[in-house]
Amino acid sequence: MRILLLFSIFVLIQPSASAQNNSTYSLIIVANTDDVHLTFTQREVRNLFMGRVSKIQLEPVALPPESPIRVLFNTKVVGLTEARIQSYWAQMRFSGRNRPPRELSDVEAVLRFIQQHKNTVAYLPAGIEIPQELTVIYRSN
């Protein structure tokens, strides 16, 4: 009986849990920009965070390497492993070509920072509540 109960709870919970998982497994790219209709493609987002030329210059803000959101961003948007990205930035920095994005400790700190700084951009988990003055410029699948 207890097993049955547990099972029914599990079945009942399952759909909502997977719905939640879906949103935690996707990302939004949020910018502090005057242009509320601004949208970026995946390639444009990648260019932005890899320090390449961008159609609109926005300062990218990143989460620390151990952050699961960052791993998700590397996998879904950049398409490179963290190790490769670290090597890339070592090459850029120590050849005097470019510097990696600013890193902030967690999602709250990132959100606060982009709220306070015009023309900044960051990746955040899709489920998160976004203040009105910020613009979602890209949604991952």
């Binding site: 390639r43 990648r46 030329v53 159609k55 490179l80 190790a83 670290q86 090459q91």
Partner: protein, 427 residues
């Protein structure tokens, strides 16, 4: 033959050379003045500005500890022999980026190297001006960007190997120069395009086969074209070194004797006084599971004693988080221009001896022909720390030097295995 004669460069200076020297000095002075100005500006900032110092001055660095062992008694390779050595490639680098304004930065890199064949000190020191995201201008002491990784050769963390293929990344290429570099970056369709042009001079010494050789290049010109499409990168580069002067292997001694005997053509053929061109093409592809890269390099020189060299490597790797496995095949084959011995034989014993001497020198010109097979693994322990192991099978040409420093010629078949382990760190 071992001890090089003191070079009497001054006596062979033509007016043209003098003009170039003067120009070169002016450029050097100009960049020194610029840097002095910039530094004095930074030092005289009011005390209040200290609050912003953490934003304005960025310190970073890299370090590597590399141990290597060559299973060969009769020769050494890049300093490695049959004793485990930690001091061939271990190093520490410190970098300071001082942001003077939003667009102007002074960047410097100091290097402390454990190898006897590398100098410690300032690797580069330049002024960087980036008016917008499209343009970047650098002036000062810069890295020479001949190849894909040549400007980060000391930063082992930036690549998968412990030792990049010697056939291309050999130490005889000078690592920095004094001059100017202009880069334009842009996008076209779905491509990111970088075009860089650089110009400068070089006057320093490099180590070739354990000997310190003074090299002077009055003009280095280079052009780099780089295209990126998602995670595919293609790079093509051309470089030209003009008015090249090097005092190699004491060849000048013999050249002077030949010149006095009236054999100008033979004498000139031994002199490092001319130009050299290099061509490079490199490709790299990365995704979450695999990576592959290839690079080809060619040096052409109008000097008899500098061979034309063709070198390339092919690398394939697999990412097995947090590990990476990779395999590299590399090959290089140098080719000397055919020499013309103009010294007549059978006339006088002294002339016969001179002709013999000339032929011997030509025959003994080192040939670095080598195939290598490298199997390596990298463990990304932390975001800024990696541990690597590497095995390299070296297969050289029996009659050539093949990048080895040969101690016992009769005993050495130009085949050896190199084992290396390394810790790479960036901070």
């Amino acid at each position: 033959m071992k001890a090089p004669l003191p070079t009497n460069k001054e006596t062979v200076l033509t007016h043209e050379n003098q003009d170039i020297m003067l120009f070169k000095k002016r450029i050097k002075n100009l960049s020194n003045t610029l840097l002095a100005l910039v530094f004095s500006n930074v030092l005289y900032q009011p005390v209040l500005a200290r609050d912003f110092m953490d934003e304005r001055v960025e310190f970073s660095g890299f370090a590597r500890i590399v141990a290597g062992y060559l299973d060969e008694e009769a020769a050494s390779f890049e300093g490695y022999d049959d004793n485990i050595s930690l001091s061939e490639q271990s190093l520490l680098g410190l970098q300071a980026d001082i942001h003077l304004t939003d667009t102007l930065t002074v960047a410097t890199q100091l290097l402390a190297h454990s190898s006897e064949e590398r100098k410690s000190g300032i690797e580069w020191l330049y002024l960087n001006y980036e008016p917008d995201q499209y343009w970047r201008i650098k002036a000062g002491k810069l890295r020479t960007p001949f190849l894909q990784y040549s400007d980060v050769l000391d930063v082992g963390f930036a690549y998968s190997w412990i030792s990049p293929p010697q056939q291309l990344y050999s130490s005889y290429l000078f690592s920095n120069f004094d001059g100017l570099s202009v880069t334009h970056r842009n996008t076209f369709a779905d491509l990111n395009i970088d075009i860089e042009a650089y110009w400068g001079t070089y006057d320093d010494s490099v180590f070739v086969g354990g000997d310190e050789v003074n090299i002077e290049v009055d003009e280095i010109l280079g052009l780099i074209f780089q295209v990126q499409h998602d995670n595919l990168q293609v790079r093509a580069a051309y470089a030209e070194s003009n008015e090249f002067f090097a005092d190699f292997l004491g060849l000048e001694d013999l050249a002077v004797v030949l010149e006095r005997a009236g054999f100008q053509q033979s004498a000139d053929s031994l002199r490092f006084d001319g130009s050299a061109n290099s061509y490079q093409v490199g490709v790299r592809y990365d995704d979450l599971d695999y990576f592959a890269s290839a690079e080809w390099f060619r040096i052409e020189a109008d000097l008899l004693v500098v061979p034309s060299v063709d070198g390339y490597y092919l690398t394939a790797g697999i990412n097995l988080l947090p590990f990476q496995l990779h395999l590299t095949y590399a090959s290089a084959a140098p080719e000397y221009a055919v020499s013309q011995n103009e010294i007549p034989r059978g006339i006088a014993p002294q002339l016969d001896q001179l002709a013999l001497g000339y032929d011997q020198v030509i025959d003994s010109l080192p040939s670095d022909s080598l195939d290598s097979y490298t199997l390596g693994a990298r463990w990304n322990m932390r975001a800024n720390l990696a541990f690597k192991v590497e095995f390299t099978r070296l297969v050289g040409d029996r009659d050539a030097r093949s990048f080895f420093d040969v101690a016992d010629n009769a005993q050495f078949d130009r085949r050896a295995n190199l084992y290396q382990v390394a810790v790479e760190w960036v901070f």
